[in-house]
Symmetry: C3
Subunit: 654 residues, 3 copies
């Protein structure tokens, strides 16, 4: 359990650097990330590198015993580069080009820009690649942020056409796979295919999907080009990129494949995330100052999977931020709590953003560990406490890596894209549904792994698939060969990889293990509320319901009042034919967990637990003081059972 | 009463065609529409026609005894055509061009495209014009859909300037008619006049109106160019275009003039329409699964008038669709009900969309009579029943054409445009007002014709004009020479044809028969609710109220609490000086019907009746089971008096 | 107290002019504004001036004894000018150009257009500058309206770069001042700096601020170029421009500096303003027909300050208008009331818009003193009464100029821009906060001056600063040297002039007189409601709260329930650390007024008073009849104490 911080030496007088470094070390910080926005200082003019300041900054920090994470500066190409290559600017869906003047103003498909990035990264890596204090390299910053991916540029078009040709080989096959006979959309050649923007009505969904697949690959290859350089010059450092929360623009599993990263790092802003995602208003109100209790955990568990077990929080909220619709001050304790929460979920490092609030430019309203006047901020004071608590506990200091959980939630990026392209009903959002299932499991005290459907799922007792658009034979084989309980949510198996309806109707190949068919589906306006009883509990469908037919030996476990099945099962596999109220999801998962032999402990509102090694952590996100569910033989290694709002404790069992 | 279906042979293997054709005939279907999106298959490359597949499809269907409606494929120009003539793509109001990749991606003012359309239509017509099984031709598909009309292209500008010159003859007259002295908007010549988009604030309303008139004429002439070809090669077929519901982009009366169509066909999607038009939320909730009871009827009655008595439903919703904000499954029975409803309103043919749900491309979530696996869908099962019911009844099989009604509602497209251009209050929508009056009449059990103000209105006992912006002398003469009761709603006569206020104040020429003047008007925020009593019933004004003065012998029939007149009348003419609550509209029309000697039968909520020939139909759109208002001597030719939700019955009187 | 009217002779037949002029004089009107949209009639083709009609119009009006205000026609360049110089059209933030076809279709930075404006103004001024009846000249019309300022044109870019160079001298200094090291935004030269539009995420706030400062200066210099011409040819006339209500696009203090105007004129549309500004919905509902009681007064007091004591209402609403989301008819009496209200606040002239409703073009739904049929409108009848009342009273006829008030509210345009650029929370709007404080003072019966922070504030007993982003040393010296009570609202002193956080933390230099620091700030979602008690009254913070620390001898006067200070004071200076509920603002200001020795008289809802010279006016904006708070020795010079809705009275004390 280690603490880090993000630091921008170029933004402060050199006279402050040594003091900053010394105080970081004193605070208990071990890692410092620097340099990821400093291109204009590394190379003030084309080809004129200026390394002196960075050499000094690195030596100053290293000299204080700090380990360094070096960021490549490609998220903010300098003005001279844009002036020399205006085509580097990305293009919006409406056809206009973005301007210079903030960040991420580059077209990820620009070959010019990719060349420039390889050049600057090579220069950096050559100089610093073998520095002993530089333990990790980060590429770029928050790839895909600010909707600059996808870019609708001529460069993107050209690379998209080539990507399509590699994928489909002949244009006839593409026309067949896409069903372009519909509305006479057939293309005479690959170079006749355009981008799917500015169409008078919906573009072909597979056109949109292939474009999203392509753009996801573009993000991965952009990163990979830098990694290839960095591996050569920095063979001993960890490679990473700082991902974002609730972010699905690219397929993180594909991104992370083939050792393109060593650790999955992500940027955690729980309060702003709680405000900005599609939570019920009541929950946004309740958790406005503590953050929703699962909003960070969801991505901790997701990125732990993506990192193959290794994950960092590269940027951790340290106080109020600047970018949500409303930006409240976190409740006292939260800045400390979030660190222990990340550690409980398996994080190796939690690195706060940022050392000191910058008084100027775009992020001047974003807090840090210090106020602009260099006084420790309220968040900084909490970090000092957390660091001392870790240092004081041998158990906490050297926790083992998080062990695999008994329960997996399958999360699938393509499913997100497909149901964004084809919501069918305004309110249908796959990630929100997945989060609803995840939350229900966490309320039951269950530790969860979030994994790809392509991962080896054989070790789990319970596999929850909130939905997955395409069910392929490999997944059916995993079901057949596992002994787990399986729960599939609505729309599972409703599509083929070519974005069409399976010939045997949804849920497609799932019918091999669960004989049933979806005859019709409906999206529900808020006033349409099909009701049902399940295990003595009443509820309704929200957003989505299917009219399904149980075939063969399939059982109908629950029905709607109008007679349509709500839950169909066969053997160890359940299918949920609607988006149900949260409470019914929890009841359903409690039953499935019971059937799977997974222990359940229903937690009070806002309380969460997480195990790492022998240690159980408990966190209180609620507005009231509550007891952690520690057993009588608990030996506390952090805090105590009675938790006020924002407090955390941890124990082992005697 | 005949049933049809829309079919896309090009989307299915040839091996399925014969079976499809045979099962259509078995189901009771008599008409099949094909080909309207198949340009890329008819002409895969410029000038290379490929007719073999279409020949075979036609022979297969005709061989099963089916009659064919052939569609021209001009709603979806193929990619090679766009690549050869990129200027065919339409231009949005913001100046950007739409892209290829969906449908309707053409500029209706493009002379290039018009030439290409005449060419492909000529080729089709020449080949199939005299085929004995092809009983009708449809031009294009849903002209004006997806907001591609108006187009703001250079081609549109040039033709607009020529249109203005034809209309106004000299630019001085245009400047005078438009009042261009205001804000120094005077033009030195016709070719100096631009399109009315992208102006910093409101463009001159007459500039906007003349542009809408022009674009309406463009739609009509685009269709007419194809009709001229088709009439030559297919002299015995019915000509039609499939119009849309609640659609006012062009003037359908002008479109239909001069025999440009033989029958008015329209596409009826009642559930999606109920969700997407400006109904009160309470009604959207109530009728989410049955559709609003007047939403289809309104367009049945409108298109019956436009077709001079002849109308078809070219596409009828057969289950859940894909394009509304929410897409529920219709209540059981509705797919059958809608057919009988259309027939009751005078339809010759109801043709379902579509034979089989297409598993790929944009409309894969749009249901049909079969599921993608070729199993009859729930909607298909209802159609089979309806076909059997029709076949079983000699009365139903050969109903006469609908007779003229006693009551007319005047609907005027230019009024829609003028009050869209100048809503004055956010919530004022003319079509919504017209629908409110129509609904009130239908709740009173009254059969209605919807007609143009230019139609011969002499046969009606009651003429309801929810509003009409321009009252010309011809309309005044109709009033003077008729013996009907007349009801005029607010804003009637408030404009001249040049979009200015009449010199004698509104209601302009209506003052010849009803001496009164409108002094001031106001649009009402929802909290402003001027109250009134009318015939012992209290209510308020919504959206709009006028301060009017009764002149001469005009009577004030009702007043607002603040003293301003609400209803003014003289002789057989009433003027309503506000948008009243629905219940007051019904009370008013009940009185007017009484004065006119029109029989009234107040129907329970959600129940509707309609007479055709000797047969009275009753439909239950409500959530509860109700008795149809059949007299004691009723002889049922369909169903029985007790109607559950979604049920229909029909009777004659002994 | 004089009455005027806006008149457009070019819009009416010459045959009506003489009658119009005579009836104006008879009505009691003394001033007529003409010509400000008539460029196409003054110069129908480039260089061909046609003055005859204007000569005649002027002589006709002057012949009836009327005084004239002549407007320059530059708000509506004619079509031939645009065709000759298409680059005159302004550019939107999205990069598209606005079109001809309404008004204000010019780029304020276009040097071509500025040249053309000087030319036409010179020609007008040369011809009419010394006409004895022309007592004033108005430049252009409502500069900045319709969001055509800022323009994002190439011309604006070039002038912005030059402006930056004048301000910052070297690009290194600009990079330093702007903090461009952040995100590598450093510029190599001034001509590399772009406009701050179309950036993928937020542009640098100082980039945005300097652009707004520049654009504000552009507006001022555009006006100044015309004034320089007019002063030369019309040395005896008053110079003015007609400003707008609640309008902050440019800095009106800077605009008015250096004698660029002689009198501040503004256009007052109280009903439409009440509907369109960010008032609580409950207030919009309550005052929909009377206008909010402070909405006009706020700008009367603001423009009296900007005019150095002299202000006119150039356009006064005379009935329903056409441009708000809803446009109700004003309550009876309001058209008269608004005139007396303006006079009470110090207006020299109230000029109604317009003489007669124009039946055609964009403003045909905008009422005037006459209906389109030349009948006096309801508003016109009220104006006739007001004119008669003024004429009948020697006291009212010759009121002295308004004396300085005891209480000042500081309003600062740059603060508006800075907090628009950086709202931090969706709901934070500085002008709305300022209006809330102003309203509280007015409810206490207090007369208010609204002034610049740079004005001499030494004469006031109480200075209220709802907020001011930058507190400079000059303001601190004013505080130190005055004997007034000072109240500063939240975010005061939170920025430097370079848009960064002060090095000593907010409130920056205010700490010299009030030792305290702002540690953290938060924007509040509506459900976050920090509560507090103040003087026995409970309330909450809305939108914004700060965590502040009282230093040294500063006192905490009120605290939130969670312990954070709500009001901190030292000596005569208070700081309010949140946006409080309106009632708490009023309580706070009542205390401050008490401490300052300013008399307070709490007024009932909707009643307002204002003193001018010896006369006290009272106005009833409420829905109920109320007594004006006249003392027992009151001698009424207008009306009487019992005021129905929309009524006004005035008295002197015996």
């Amino acid at each position: 359990m280690q603490l880090g911080v993000c630091y921008y030496p170029e933004q402060w007088p050199r006279s402050m650097w040594a003091d900053d470094a010394q105080r970081m070390a004193e605070l208990g910080i071990t890692h410092v990330r620097i340099a990821e926005f400093a291109w204009s200082r590394m190379e003030p003019r084309a080809g004129q590198y200026v390394w002196g300041w960075l050499d000094e900054a690195i030596e100053t920090l290293a000299g204080a015993g700090l380990k360094l994470v070096l960021g490549t500066p490609t998220a903010s190409p300098p003005k001279w580069l844009i002036d020399a290559h205006p085509d580097v600017l990305p293009v919006r869906a409406d056809g206009t080009r973005w301007n210079f003047g903030s960040r991420r103003h580059y077209d990820i498909s620009s070959e010019t820009y990719r060349r420039e990035c390889v050049r600057i990264v090579s220069a950096m890596a050559e100089r610093y690649g073998r520095h002993p204090s530089i333990v990790a390299w980060q590429t770029d910053n928050e790839l895909g942020c600010h909707d600059t991916v996808p870019s609708y540029s001529p460069a993107a078009l050209k690379r998209f056409q080539a990507w399509l040709e590699r994928r489909h080989e002949t244009v006839d096959r593409l026309n067949e796979a896409w069903g372009n006979v519909f509305w006479s959309m057939e293309y005479p050649s690959f170079d006749a295919i355009g981008l799917p923007n500015l169409t008078p009505t919906d573009a072909n969904p597979i056109h949109l999907l292939d474009f999203r697949r392509f753009m996801s690959d573009e993000v991965a290859s952009f990163h990979r080009e830098q990694i290839d350089v960095l591996r050569r010059f920095a063979p001993n450092a960890d490679m990473l990129h700082n991902f974002m929360g609730f972010f699905t623009t690219f397929d993180h599993y594909r991104f992370a494949a083939n050792k393109s990263i060593d650790v999955a790092a992500w940027d955690s802003y729980p309060i702003a995330r709680t405000e900005s995602i599609a939570l019920p208003e009541e929950q946004k109100a309740r958790y406005a100052r503590t953050s929703h209790p699962d909003v960070s955990a969801f991505d901790h568990d997701r990125y732990r999977g993506i990192g193959g077990g290794r994950f960092w929080v590269m940027e951790q909220q340290a106080g109020p931020v600047n970018w949500a619709p409303f930006n409240p001050v976190p409740a006292p304790g939260m800045v400390r709590l979030w660190a222990f929460e990340a550690f409980a979920h398996g994080a190796e490092l939690v690195s706060y953003f940022r050392w000191r609030q910058c008084p100027y430019a775009q992020e001047q309203m974003h807090s840090g560990l210090h106020l602009p006047n260099n006084e420790l901020s309220p968040g900084g004071i909490e970090v000092r406490r957390a660091a001392a608590e870790i240092a004081a506990s041998d158990v906490l200091k050297d926790l083992p890596a998080a062990a695999p959980a008994q329960v997996a939630v399958v999360f699938d990026y393509e499913t997100q894209w497909m149901f964004e392209i084809q919501r069918h009903g305004t309110a249908f959002d796959y990630q929100t549904l997945a989060f609803d299932y995840y939350e229900a499991l966490r309320e039951l005290g269950i530790d969860v792994d979030i994994v790809s459907a392509k991962a080896d799922l054989s070790g789990y007792k319970l596999v929850v698939v909130p939905s997955i658009a395409v069910i392929d034979d490999a997944l059916v084989r995993q079901i057949e060969s596992s002994s787990a309980q399986w729960v599939f949510g609505p729309r599972s198996g409703s599509k083929t990889g070519a974005f069409s309806i399976p010939g045997n109707l949804p849920p497609g190949a799932l019918q091999h293990v669960l004989p049933m068919q979806v005859l019709e589906v409906e999206s529900l306006r808020p006033t349409l509320q099909p009701s049902l009883w399940m295990s003595g509990e009443s509820g309704i469908a929200l957003h989505w319901r299917e009219h399904v037919r149980a075939n063969g030996e399939a059982q109908v476990e629950a029905r709607f009042a109008d007679g349509w099945p709500a839950i169909v099962s066969h053997g160890r596999v359940r299918y949920v034919a609607a988006w149900l109220t949260h409470s019914l999801h929890r009841t359903l998962l409690r039953q499935a967990a019971g059937d799977a032999g997974v222990a359940v402990q229903a937690l009070p509102e806002g309380l969460r637990t997480r195990r790492r090694g022998e240690v159980t952590f408990a966190f209180n996100f609620s507005a009231t003081t509550q007891y952690a569910p520690a057993p009588s033989n608990a030996r506390f290694v952090l805090g105590e059972a009675l938790l006020s709002t924002g407090d955390v404790c941890a124990w082992t069992e005697a």
